[in-house]
């Protein structure tokens, strides 16, 4: 129990930070925001999943992926495909009239009709089943991450090159999705999603429920992340970031470890994508291309690339800022956002979490605790002697 407390919650200070986040997510937001804003918040939180994944693979593992939108998007598209099929069946059932039957193919998503597709593509078959869809939401992006990771890391493609290649992959995905209109809905994406297993996701109560669901899953991701960072794997990640060769010559397969953490980040992103679709009711290639992928990295950087909780605040703040500024000052917000990116990288490389850590040590450690070294306890070892640091 004690180890679990330390590992998953990050000890006392980590728990405080997590508790604060829970209060914000489960009390402050639901009580203070109207339904529209709360739904908006669900959208932001679904981006935060990607940011949390990036803290693991970028902040701690040193692997910067500029293509996380790829995984987020695949998760979202899988979920959207299921919802779309259900919507198509419902339309067919509701409109019993022969007129509609004559115009459309029964049970086929509308965009397929528009693209003269007369029978469901095989790729779409699995999305008839809900359990299978849930499996695919995780399996497809994780498998993709596994393939990309194995191919890249085995060949020791890393750093900048990895970032640029994942960016290109993201782009490839966007243009393929846009061109395969009949399968993917093209540039418009998959829209007009209404129900999930008969439950109308557009109602107020459904949106509130989904908000809480999103928050719970997000907290779960943070706990998983904390667990990973607290065990040996977490220290190997940091070690790999700082000295890859030494890890390799300690007998670890660096490529496998990197692939693993990359897959974990991909699975988290996919979860965010699927929840996004449930919350918002559509999916489009514009959401998964290069620009949103970079935004996701920015969320992570603004929040603090080493801090799981910071990443959530980063995602909320930047997304909110984006919405707010683009509503209030449509011409200025690009300047403002651009300025924020520059300021953060220039002056706060550790993001909000770092700034809070630096300027409010008392408060900061508790809110943004990075599951720091300090809180880990190794019983039964010789006490620390600090005066022994000689030289520089």
């Amino acid at each position: 129990m004690h180890t679990l407390y330390n590992r998953a919650l990050g000890g006392k200070s980590g728990t405080v930070g997590l508790a604060l986040l829970c209060i914000v997510l489960f009390l402050v937001f639901p009580l203070s925001l109207d339904n529209f804003r709360l739904n908006m918040m669900s959208k932001y939180l679904s981006y935060a999943f990607v940011a949390v994944g990036l803290v693991l693979c970028w902040g701690n593992g040193g692997i910067l992926s500029l293509g996380q939108g790829l995984f987020w998007g695949f998760g979202g598209y899988c979920m959207a495909a299921f919802l779309k099929l259900e919507a198509a069946h419902n339309i067919a059932a509701e409109s019993g009239s022969d007129q509609i039957r004559a115009l459309t193919t029964v049970g086929l998503p509308d965009f397929m009709d528009w693209n003269q597709i007369t029978s469901l593509p095989y790729i779409w078959y699995p999305f008839k089943s809900f359990p299978l869809t849930i499996i695919l939401v995780f399996l497809v992006p994780t498998l993709l991450a596994y393939i990309i990771g194995t191919a890249m890391f085995k060949r020791r493609v890393g750093g900048v090159y990895f970032a640029l290649i994942t960016q290109a992959l993201c782009w490839i995905m966007e243009i393929s999705f846009v061109t395969r209109q009949g399968w993917t809905g093209g540039i418009n994406g998959i829209t007009d999603l209404r129900t999930c297993l008969g439950w109308d996701i557009r109602t107020k109560s459904a949106q509130i429920t989904l908000y809480f669901l999103t928050s719970i899953f997000l907290i779960a991701c943070i706990l998983v992340g904390r667990f990973i960072l607290s065990i040996k794997l977490g220290r190997i990640l940091v070690a790999m970031r700082d000295g890859e060769d030494r890890v390799r010559f300690s007998g670890y397969s660096v490529s496998k470890l990197k692939t693993f953490i990359f897959c974990v980040a991909a699975a988290m992103s996919a979860m965010g994508g699927a929840l996004f679709v449930l919350n918002v009711g559509f999916m489009s290639p514009k959401l998964v291309t290069i620009e949103p992928s970079i935004y996701m990295v920015i969320f992570c950087a603004v929040g603090g690339r080493n801090s799981l909780i910071g990443a959530v605040y980063g995602a909320i703040l930047v997304s909110y800022g984006k919405t707010y500024f683009s509503e209030m000052f449509p011409n200025l917000w690009y300047f403002l956002m651009g300025g924020v990116f520059i300021l953060v990288t220039r002056f706060f490389p550790d993001g909000l979490a770092g700034a809070v850590d630096r300027f409010g040590p008392m408060l900061g450690k508790k809110i943004f605790s990075m599951i720091g070294r300090a809180q880990q306890n190794f019983p039964a070892v010789v006490p620390v002697t600090i005066e022994a640091n000689e030289g520089h």
Binding site: I228, I231, K232, L233, R235, I236, V238, A239, D242, G243, D245, R246, V247, R248, F249, S250, G251, Y252, S253, V254, K256, L257, F260, R373, F378, A380, V381, V382, P383, V384, T385, I386, A388, N389, E390, G391
Partner: protein, 246 residues
Amino acid sequence: MSAAAELEIKDLTVSFDGFKAVDNFTFSVEHEELRVVIGPNGAGKTTLLDLICGKTRPTGGSIRFKGRELSKMQENSIVRQGVGRKFQTPSIYPKLTVFENLEISFPRGRGIWGSLFFKQTDDVRERINEVARDTYLSDHLHTSAEHLSHGQKQWLEIGMVLIADPKLMLLDEPVAGMSVRERQQTADLLKRICKGRSVVVIEHDMNFVKEIAHKVTVMHQGKMLVEGSMDEVQANEKVREVYLGH
């Protein structure tokens, strides 16, 4: 005579851009032997260690350790065959403490599942403490590695190799940047740890070499120049010419 050689290298060659860094090199190291490789800079000593531990791929020749061919293996599999390597400039994890540095190097939980479910049991802690004691780092277990002195960093890296209990240790300039007293302590350490394993050391400090070496190999331009006891090597005219000076 003694048991068959543990490490057998035959006709090993590697070329970079047409330049042969190691050229048709053949040598062998026996069980529990402490071998020192000396030679001018650029003679191919570090490259030789790189080849053995898989960091560099040979152009030709074979490296057999306990009868197994290493030259085609991945680095981490070579490590699992029992080969440990210390680099020329200490490569440790600066942001982790000495304890964590050693813990990561502990040869358990090296796979993904292993690293997920690795438990820091008593025997692990005991072994870490033991190695820290051996490498004179007991008082610094919870110091961040970046705050260690240069000599202590060298020791830490030796400890990180040692904790995996390798059957063959490759040490590249282990006493570079150490004071005379630290050198002596390192010599004692090496003499202790070559029990039960073979050790190959690259070193420039002749006094240190004299102190520890069972046998010395002199490399020159990627080739073996001489091999023998320290006295034989020091008396050798060719060695004096290319390396030691008169």
